[in-house]
């Protein structure tokens, strides 16, 4: 079950139900014009019942029919009321809505998203046009506004990393609540381009139908993460380009901690003017078949191309530095110069300096931490999150990573750990970490025998616990 400790405390957030529902208005406005529409309507009602039985106290809708450009928008009008008419199917009638939105949660989600590096804003304007997918979903899944709801837009430029971070921010903001999360989306979204008799409705093409059934087979097996990983392929195969990408599975999977062992059930699958519409319920109970590997970067904080406007100026001021995605200090290209020793295998500096400098036989290393070259991941985990909240970390893993980085710089100069003559170590928490650090030291550098000084300091530029300043005497 996806239970996530909210950043900043507040208790475990828990996804108690995950739903996929179609966006077109037919099950709401015209269920009697086609047997398939009627079956979708019944499935919506069954899904509503299951949400109620799950004990959910928050209903989160990710809607593909609410596109956004400037970051992510969260609906924050506590009581939006309007009459909606579909742009295509205006002849089916008007959808009147009167919803209860959890505005407090929307604001919390926006703040949590910003803390994780996303651009986000709440919208609370009279007459704001709530999209058809959200209106259909909330009308049929939450009759009587029994559960406070949230709606989030689908950013047209967002990639998987950004969508994953958006979901994590949702879990941050939920703080101890039980969430039913809904993706309002089509499967294949190619509609007939001319009016048809509703009784003649069918999936637009056999190819679309086959892909839809494959997706539903995966979901019925609870393999949500597998569908998320296929998202780009599905988008290419059965989606009308530039309408809406097949992103909601990224959101749903991240809300469920990228699990592949949910208990799934397809409640209905029907054609909606040629598009594929399904009502799917994913229960968090494990199906017992075992989980699968999540093989994409599990990003916590998003940088991406958000901040385009500001980044231009910042980058122009320091052309040799690259802004960090996690909000940490910018990374710099190592400085070249007489005697400079720089290694592509070592993490990039956080300022204008070389990895090391050689003077005669002596090699002086700049302070070395545990960050990994390329990814900047910190083995053993960072010591705090982007907001400064402390995190658990492994000092032994960090210390081993520091020694490995030192070894890489030495190797670039033609040396090895055996050449080290003196080390100064900086720990940010002597009381907590000295023993673990000392243990790794004994296993590695302790066998070489350099002199050593260990100091406690208040902090380091990145969220690491240990850094070493090394001097080596290179053999001729």
């Amino acid at each position: 079950m996806a239970r996530v400790e909210a950043r900043g405390g507040g208790g475990l957030s828990e996804v108690v139900a995950t739903l996929v529902v179609p966006v077109h208005p037919h099950p709401l406005l015209a269920p009697d014009t086609n047997e398939g529409y009627a079956r979708l309507r019944v499935a919506f009602e069954e899904a509503a019942k299951r949400i109620e039985e799950s004990g959910a106290d928050l209903l989160v809708v990710y809607s593909t029919t609410w596109p956004s450009i400037i970051g992510h928008q969260m609906q924050a009008d506590p009581n939006p009321v309007w009459n909606l008419v579909d742009h295509d199917f205006h002849d089916l009638g008007t959808m009147h809505y009167d919803f209860r939105i959890d505005a407090e949660f929307a604001h919390a989600w926006k703040l949590a998203a910003e803390k994780r590096g996303l651009s986000a804003r709440t919208v609370a304007y009279e007459g704001f046009p709530i999209d058809v997918g959200s209106v259909v979903a909330l009308s049929l899944l939450n009759p009587g506004n029994r559960i406070p709801a949230a709606i989030v837009s689908s950013n047209v430029y967002a990639n998987r990393a950004e969508t994953t971070v958006l979901a994590k921010a949702c879990m941050d903001a939920a703080k101890g609540r039980k969430i039913a999360v809904v993706a309002a989306m089509s499967l294949s979204n190619r509609m007939f381009t001319q009016r048809i008799d509703p009784k003649e409705d069918r999936i637009h093409s056999l190819k679309d139908d086959e892909w839809n059934r494959k997706i539903l087979e995966f979901l019925a097996d609870g393999r949500l993460e597998d569908v998320a990983q296929l998202s780009r392929t599905i988008h290419t195969q059965i989606r009308v380009q530039k309408v809406v990408a097949f992103k909601p599975m990224w959101f749903l999977s991240a809300m469920n901690e990228h699990r592949n062992d949910l208990t799934g059930e397809v409640l209905a699958y029907e054609a909606l003017h040629g598009a594929g519409g399904a009502v799917v319920h994913l229960d968090p109970a494990s199906n017992g078949k075992g989980d699968k590997e999540y093989d994409e970067e599990n990003v916590e904080v998003f940088g991406g191309d958000r901040g385009v406007l500001d980044a231009v100026e910042e980058h122009a001021a320091h052309p040799e530095s690259t802004p960090r995605q996690d909000g940490g200090p910018a990374l710099w290209e190592p400085v070249e110069g007489q005697g400079a020793v720089n290694s592509d295998a070592a993490p990039k500096p956080v300022g204008a300096y070389p990895h090391a400098r050689r003077v005669g036989d002596m090699l002086y290393l700049s302070g070395v931490g545990p960050r990994q070259p390329g990814t900047n991941a910190i083995p053993g985990g960072p010591i705090h999150d982007v907001a400064g909240a402390p995190l658990e970390y492994d000092i032994r893993a960090q210390t081993r990573a520091v020694v490995a980085n030192v070894e890489r710089v030495l190797a670039e100069a033609g040396g090895s750990l055996n050449d080290i003559v003196d080390v100064t170590t900086f720990l940010v928490d002597m009381e907590r970490d000295f023993a673990g650090y000392n243990e790794v030291w004994a296993e590695t550098l302790g066998k070489v025998g350099p002199t050593r000084t260990t100091l406690a300091i208040r902090s380091l530029p990145t969220p690491i616990a240990v850094e070493m300043k090394v001097i080596a005497h290179l053999k001729q």
Binding site: W66, P67, S68, I69, I70, G71, N83, L84, V85, H87, D88, F89, H90, D91, G93, T94, S119, R121, V123, Y125, E126, G127, F128, P129, D131, N155, Y157, R190, M191, F192, T193, Q194, R195, V240, Q241, K242, V243, H273, D305, R306, G307, V308, L309, D310
Partner: protein, 300 residues
């Protein structure tokens, strides 16, 4: 009836930012200005249109996106509050518009006779898209002329740019024939921008022009090339390059408006008048007029 004609064609982009910057009484948010190059362009377009006698304005709207055929507003009057779902902080506009249902129906019927799938929209609770309202306001702030509003069929995304061009060319020719048969003098407007890659962040003060520029040099080069074809009287060349432009500049010509406009004007070989060019959150926008009345025979 006969005797009608297209007296002018306009590329009249619809960023709500331009209305926001102007602070009209119909729009709730207020600003300190901004996007002046484009707004001055609209000033010049309005001054030009004020000298052209016309009865009706016919718009094709890329933000009324329909996937099942092409739709026309089919009631004589629409009013309400339009809130932009993407920039609600900038655009919350109370509108009250007149529709020339007779001409809309005539274009609908002519297009249907050409084999296009078309529909009249007659639900009185329908909310007119914000792009239509933006362009209508910027070209006729007094809302003095009745409108014909045509949806943007998404054929480019269902099929290809080429199919979109074929369908919009046919719709353009049908529009022209219907206008000519109506006896009315019409200004036709395509509401799209040119290059259409947005910035994904917004300054704290949206009208802070120190942040406004094109998103990339490639987009700028494409916009200038397309404008050069317009002012050089090379509409056919513009249409020939439309597939590459639409794909490479992620251009809003994907909605078919510019293709429709060129065919409504009879694929003009006379030069267009560039009234202004500017960017809006990084997208390229041009205000352009084809003064058809100067270049065509008076009555067909």
């Amino acid at each position: 009836m006969g005797g009608g004609r297209v007296v002018a064609g306009c590329l009249a982009p619809h960023p709500p930012h331009l209305v926001y910057a102007e602070n009209p009484p119909q729009n709730a948010p207020t600003s300190e200005g901004g996007w002046e190059q484009l707004r001055w362009g609209y000033d010049r377009l309005r001054a030009s249109l004020a000298n052209i006698d016309h009865d009706v304005m016919v718009l094709l709207s890329p933000h009324w996106q329909t996937y099942v055929g092409t739709h026309f507003l089919g009631l004589p009057h629409f009013e309400g509050l339009s809130v932009d779902p993407i920039f609600p902080n900038l655009f919350r506009y109370t509108y009250d518009m007149k529709v020339d249902v007779n001409l809309a129906t005539a274009i609908h019927d002519e297009a249907a006779a050409s084999g296009l799938d078309v529909h009249m929209m007659t639900n009185p609770e329908f909310r007119v898209d914000y792009g239509t309202i933006t362009t209508a306001h910027l070209t006729d702030p007094a809302w003095s002329k009745p409108l014909v509003v045509i949806s943007s069929n998404r054929s480019r995304h269902y099929y290809s740019v080429e199919v979109m061009q074929e369908m919009m060319a046919e719709l353009g020719r049908a529009t022209r024939r219907a206008i000519e048969a109506s006896g009315k003098r019409a200004v036709v407007l395509a509401r799209n921008s040119l290059s259409h890659r947005h910035f994904t962040t917004e300054p704290d003060v949206p009208e802070d022009m120190s942040h406004e520029h094109i998103t990339s040099h490639a987009m700028h080069l494409w916009d200038m090339r397309i404008i050069d074809h317009m002012v050089g009287g090379r509409a056919q060349r513009l249409l020939d390059e439309m597939p590459e432009f639409t794909e490479q500049a992620i251009a809003e010509t994907d909605g078919g408006g510019l293709t429709w406009l060129m065919h409504t004007l009879g694929v003009p070989s006379y030069p267009a008048v560039l009234h202004g060019y500017g960017t809006v959150i990084g997208t390229g926008n041009a205000v352009v007029e084809w003064p058809a009345w100067k270049h065509e025979e008076a009555v067909v």
